[in-house]
C-alpha cells in the first residue's frame, strides 16, 4: 500500500499504540505516561494537518482491508470525516492536558489513560469509517472503551451508572446491528455514498426500509441521547470531569449524532428519506428532546447534571438540522457538531475546575465565585452565552442557519422550538452567571485546594480558556475561509441534487 493508503490507519494507531503501552506502565511512571499521552495527541494532530493539506490539494486517502469475503474495513478521508476528526483530535489534546492536571494523585491513572486513549481511537475510527460495518465496529468499540472510564471511581454509584450505560448502549448497538445486516441483505453494499445508496431497492421493500431506519436511528439515538433513550447520560455524570468533557463534547454523544448524519445523508439520502416520510417524525423527536432536556435542566441544582441535560437538549439541534432536510438546515446541523463541542467542553472544563479547586458541585454553592476564579468563570460565561445563542459566539451561527433552513422548507414551527429553547437556556444559564458574578461569596468554599497566587493549576486553566476563545472565534470569524461554517457549506452541497 502506498502512503495515502496508510495514513488513515496510522491516524487510528496514533492513539491505540500509546494506549496499549500505558496499560502496562506502573502508577509511578508519571513522566513516561505524560510523554506518551502528549506525543500521541500531537502525532494525531500532525497527521490530521497532513491529511487536511492533502485533501485540499486533491489527494485521496483510503485504507481498505478485507473483513469478510465480500465486505471490507474502509477508512476514508472525506469532508464530513475530516470535520469530525479535526474536532476530535484538537479536543483530545486539550482534554489530555486537562486530565493530567485533574487526576494528579488519584489512583489507577495508568488504567484511566489507557482506556482514554482507546476511547479516542474508537472515535477517530467512527469518524473515518467509509462504510456501515466499519462504523459499527468502532461504534461498539467506543461503548466498550468508555465503560471503564465511567466506573473509574469505583463507588457503588459509579457501578450502577456503568450498568445503566451498558443496558442502554448495548441494546442500541443490537438494534443498529440488526438494521445494518438487514439493509445489507437488501442492497448488497454498505459503502457510504453521498445522497445515499438505496436507490436500487424497489417499492415492495418500502416497509422494510422504514423499519430499518427506525432500528438504526434508535440504535444511534441511544448514544445521541434522544428522548426517551437518554436515561444513561445524567447518571454518567458520576465520572471524573475529563471523562464528562470528552464524552459529552467529543466522543460518545457526538458519535451518535455523527452516525445519524451519516445514516440520513449517506445511507438513505436525505431526499429519499424525506420521500419515505421518515424525516418528519425524526424532527418531532428532536424537537421534543430539545425542549425536554432544557426543562429538566431548569430543576437541577448539581452543576454537572444541569450541563448533562443541556447536552441532551443541544445535541438534538444536530438531529433537527438533519431532519428538516434542506440544504441550509444541513449546514446548521453539521456546523453545530463543531460549535456545540467547543462550547460544551468549555462548560465541563470549568465545572471540573470549580469542583477540583474549590470543591463546588452545586449551583447553590457558586455565589461570588467569579471573583475568586475570574478566568474560569469568564470562559464559562462565553460558553453559556453561546449556548443561549447570544451573538457573536458560535451558537448564534448554528441557530441562524437552522432557523433559515426551517423557513426554506416551510417548517415555521421549528422557529418556535428554537425560540423556546433559547428562552429555557437563558433561564437556566443566566442565574448561574448572576450568582457567580454578582453575589457575595459565602464565608468558606466547601473544600479549597491551595494553589498559591494562581487561580488554579495551569493544566486546568488553559484548556477552557482556549476552547472558549475557539468558540468565540468560530462565531466571529464564521465567514472567514476555513471556518467550520464554510466546511459545513461544502458538506451540504454534496448531499443535495444539483441540477
Amino acid at each position: 500500500m502506498n502512503w495515502n493508503a496508510w495514513l488513515p490507519l496510522l491516524m487510528v494507531a496514533s492513539s491505540l499504540l500509546p494506549g496499549l503501552v500505558i496499560f502496562g506502565l506502573g502508577e509511578q511512571r508519571f513522566r513516561l505516561r505524560t510523554a506518551l499521552n502528549l506525543s500521541g495527541a500531537l502525532a494525531k494532530l500532525a497527521l490530521v494537518g497532513w491529511m487536511l493539506w492533502g485533501v485540499y490539494h486533491g489527494q485521496h486517502f483510503e485504507t481498505r482491508l478485507p473483513l469478510l469475503p465480500d465486505l471490507d474495513l474502509v477508512l476514508r478521508a472525506g469532508p464530513l470525516s475530516l470535520l469530525f476528526v479535526t474536532l476530535s483530535a484538537g479536543l483530545w489534546l486539550l482534554t489530555t492536558i486537562y486530565a493530567i492536571g485533574y487526576l494528579e494523585g488519584s489512583p489507577h491513572r495508568s488504567r484511566f489513560f489507557g482506556f482514554f486513549s482507546l476511547c479516542v481511537t474508537a472515535t477517530v475510527g467512527v469518524a473515518m469509517s467509509g462504510n456501515l460495518i466499519t462504523f459499527l465496529l468502532f461504534y461498539e468499540l467506543l461503548t466498550l472503551a468508555t465503560y471503564p472510564l465511567i466506573v473509574h471511581r469505583g463507588t457503588e454509584e459509579a457501578r450502577r451508572a456503568g450498568q445503566s450505560y451498558l443496558v442502554y448502549t448495548l441494546c442500541g448497538g443490537a438494534a443498529l446491528l440488526l438494521g445494518t445486516v438487514w439493509l445489507y441483505t437488501l442492497t448488497g453494499t454498505l459503502e457510504f455514498t453521498p445522497r445515499g445508496f438505496i436507490h436500487a431497492v424497489g417499492e415492495e421493500h418500502h416497509l422494510a426500509l422504514v423499519v430499518i431506519f427506525i432500528l438504526m436511528i434508535g440504535g444511534l439515538g441511544v448514544k445521541a441521547a434522544l428522548v426517551p433513550l437518554h436515561g444513561w447520560l445524567p447518571k454518567a455524570m458520576v465520572a471524573p470531569a475529563p471523562v464528562s468533557a470528552l464524552l459529552h463534547a467529543v466522543a460518545v454523544v457526538k458519535a451518535g449524532a455523527f452516525g445519524i448524519i451519516r445514516v440520513v445523508y449517506e445511507v438513505f439520502g436525505v431526499e429519499r428519506a424525506a420521500m419515505l416520510g421518515l424525516t418528519g417524525p425524526l424532527a418531532v423527536v428532536a424537537a421534543v428532546t430539545i425542549i425536554y432536556g432544557s426543562v429538566r435542566a431548569l430543576f437541577q441544582d448539581d452543576l454537572k447534571r444541569r450541563l448533562a441535560f443541556s447536552t441532551i437538549s443541544q445535541v438534538s439541534y444536530i438531529a433537527l438540522g438533519v431532519a428538516i432536510a434542506g440544504p441550509i438546515a444541513t449546514i446548521g446541523g453539521v456546523v453545530h457538531l463543531v460549535h456545540q463541542g467547543l462550547m460544551k467542553i468549555t462548560l465541563f472544563f470549568c465545572a471540573g475546575n470549580l469542583a477540583e479547586t474549590l470543591g463546588i458541585h452545586k449551583i447553590s454553592e457558586m455565589n461570588g465565585v467569579g471573583r475568586r476564579m475570574p478566568w474560569t468563570m469568564a470562559a464559562f460565561t462565553v460558553g453559556a452565552l453561546g449556548m443561549i445563542g447570544a451573538p457573536p459566539i458560535a451558537g448564534f451561527i448554528s441557530k441562524w442557519y437552522l432557523g433559515l433552513g426551517a423557513l426554506e422548507v416551510g417548517q415555521g414551527w421549528v422557529l418556535l422550538v428554537l425560540a423556546g429553547s433559547s428562552l429555557l437556556n437563558a433561564a437556566y444559564f443566566l442565574p448561574i452567571l448572576y450568582r457567580a458574578w454578582f453575589r457575595a461569596p459565602a464565608d468558606a468554599w466547601p473544600h479549597e485546594h491551595d494553589f498559591g497566587d494562581k487561580e488554579t493549576a495551569w493544566a486546568l486553566l488553559l484548556p477552557p480558556v482556549i476552547t472558549a476563545l475557539l468558540a468565540l472565534g468560530a462565531g466571529l470569524l464564521a465567514a472567514a475561509p476555513f471556518s467550520p461554517l464554510e466546511w459545513a457549506q461544502l458538506i451540504s452541497q454534496r448531499e443535495f441534487y444539483q441540477p
Partner: protein
C-alpha cells in the same frame, strides 16, 4: 489613504474600549473610562461620512456614520462622559469598569452599525452589559427591577432574532435600506420588530422596570438609562421598520395608540405623585411615547414621514440627554425625596406569582414524563431480580432434567420425532 483612515477611525471606536477591558491595561491607565470614549468623540467631530465593511466578520458586517446619526453619536458621547465622571468617585473596581466598557462598546456599535446583524450583536452586548451595571451594588428593589428588565430583554432579543431570520430569508443583503424594501410584504417581521423594541425601550405598558429602577439605582446607571436602552431601542425602531415607503395601517394605528396612551399615562402618574426623583423616569416614558406615536404616524402616512423624518434623530438625541440633564439639575438643587417602593413591588410580584404557577405545573407534568422515560431502564435493570424470583423454578427444572428417567424419555422422544419428521 483616506479610505484606511476612515476604516480605522470607525473600527477604533468599537475596538478601543474592548481592548481596555483587559484588566492589565485599564488598571495601568488613568481614568480608563474617559479614555475609552475618546475615539468616539473624535469621530463625532470629524467631518464627512464614512463606512467600512469586513466581509469575514460573522456574515460580513461593517460600520458607518452618516449625517443624521452624528446627532446620536454626540448624544451618546455626552451621556457616557457624564456617567464616567460621576462614577469615578464611586466603586472604581475592575468589575464595574469592565461592565462599563462593555456596555459602552455595545452602545457605540449600535449607533455605527451598518446592517441588521451588526446592530443586533451590539445591541445584545449593550443590553446585557447594562443589566450588569444596574445590578451592581444595588438594593433589593433595583435588583427586582433589573430582573424584570432582563426577562423583557431576553424575550425582546428572541423576537428580534426571529425577525432577523425572516429578513435574511427575504433578502440576501442585510443593510438597512435593502431590508426595508424587502420586508414590506412580511407583516410578521414588522410585529416582531415592534414588539422587540417596545420591550427593550420600556414603552408603556412595559415601563415598570424603568420607573422602579429610577427609585434607587446608582447615579451612573440613572444617567445611562435614557441614552442606552431607551434611545437605542427607539433608534432600532427607526432603522428596522420600513418607514416612508408603503403604508402599514394596522401596525401604524396600534403604534399611535400606544404612544398617545403612554404620554397620557405618564403625565397622569407624575402629577398624581409629584416626586422630583421620578421626573426623569416619567419624562422618559412620556417622550418615548411621543416618539412611538411619531413612528406610528409615519407608518400610516408615508408622505408625512418623508416630510418630517429629519426630526427623528434629534428627538432621539434629546430623549437620551433628558435624564442626564434632570439628574444634573437635581444634584445642583440638592433635593432628596423618599422612595415609593410598595407599588412597584406589587406589580413585579404579580409577574413572579405567575412564574411560580407555571413552574409548579411544569414540575408535575415533568414527573409524569420522567416516569415514562425511566420505565424502560428500570424494567431492564430489574431483570436479574425477576430471574431471582424464578430461581426455584429454574433450579427445579434443571434438577428434573438431570434424572435419568427424564433424560432417556426425552432422548427417545427426540429419536421418534426425528424419524417422523424425516418420513414426513
Amino acid at each position: 489613504m483616506s479610505n484606511s483612515i476612515n476604516a480605522l477611525s470607525l473600527w477604533l471606536v468599537v475596538v478601543w474600549p474592548l481592548l481596555l477591558v483587559i484588566p492589565a491595561l485599564h488598571s495601568r491607565l488613568p481614568s480608563p473610562r474617559h479614555l475609552a470614549i475618546l475615539p468616539a468623540a473624535l469621530l463625532a467631530v470629524m467631518p464627512g461620512d464614512a463606512s467600512h465593511v469586513l466581509p469575514w466578520l460573522m456574515f460580513g458586517t461593517g460600520l458607518s456614520i452618516e449625517g443624521d446619526s452624528r446627532w446620536i453619536l454626540l448624544m451618546a458621547v455626552t451621556v457616557w462622559l457624564a456617567a464616567a465622571t460621576v462614577c469615578n468617585k464611586q466603586l472604581a473596581q475592575n468589575r464595574s469598569t469592565v461592565l462599563f466598557l462593555l456596555t459602552l462598546t455595545g452602545n457605540l456599535g449600535v449607533i455605527l452599525a451598518a446592517d441588521l446583524v451588526g446592530f443586533f450583536v451590539f445591541a445584545a452586548l449593550m443590553g446585557y452589559g447594562f443589566y450588569g451595571l444596574l445590578v451592581q451594588g444595588s438594593d433589593v428593589a433595583v435588583r427586582r427591577a433589573a430582573r424584570l428588565y432582563l426577562i423583557f430583554l431576553i424575550i425582546a432579543d428572541l423576537a428580534l432574532f426571529e425577525a432577523l431570520l425572516l429578513a435574511a430569508f427575504a433578502t440576501k443583503e442585510l443593510q438597512f435600506a435593502a431590508v426595508q424594501q424587502a420586508v414590506t410584504e412580511t407583516p410578521l417581521y414588522l410585529w416582531l420588530v415592534f414588539a422587540g423594541f417596545v420591550l427593550k425601550a420600556g414603552i408603556w405598558p412595559f415601563h415598570l422596570w424603568l420607573t422602579a429602577a429610577f427609585k434607587s439605582a446608582s447615579q451612573s446607571a440613572l444617567l445611562l438609562l435614557g441614552g442606552a436602552p431607551v434611545a437605542m431601542a427607539l433608534l432600532g425602531m427607526e432603522r428596522w421598520l420600513p418607514l416612508g415607503d408603503t403604508a402599514v395601517y394596522a401596525m401604524g394605528t396600534v403604534a399611535q395608540v400606544v404612544g398617545v396612551a403612554a404620554l397620557l399615562y405618564a403625565t397622569l402618574r407624575f402629577f398624581t405623585h409629584m416626586q422630583m426623583k421620578t421626573l426623569p423616569a416619567w419624562g422618559l416614558v412620556a417622550t418615548s411615547g411621543i416618539f412611538v406615536a411619531f413612528i406610528g404616524t409615519g407608518l400610516t402616512y408615508p408622505a408625512v414621514w418623508q416630510q418630517y423624518e429629519y426630526l427623528a434623530y434629534p428627538l432621539i438625541a434629546a430623549l437620551g440627554l433628558l435624564p442626564t440633564l434632570v439628574v444634573i439639575i437635581a444634584r445642583l438643587e440638592g433635593r432628596h425625596q423618599t422612595t415609593d417602593v410598595q407599588l412597584v413591588d406589587v406589580s413585579i410580584s404579580w409577574a413572579a406569582g405567575w412564574g411560580r404557577l407555571i413552574q409548579q405545573w411544569l414540575t408535575k407534568s415533568l414527573a409524569g414524563v420522567q416516569a415514562l422515560a425511566g420505565f424502560f431502564e428500570t424494567k431492564a435493570l430489574e431483570l436479574p431480580q425477576y430471574l431471582h424470583q424464578w430461581q426455584t423454578l429454574l433450579d427445579d427444572a434443571e434438577r428434573r432434567l438431570r434424572r435419568w428417567t427424564v433424560a432417556i424419555t426425552l432422548l427417545s422422544l427426540l429419536a421418534l420425532a426425528v424419524a417422523l419428521l424425516a418420513i414426513g
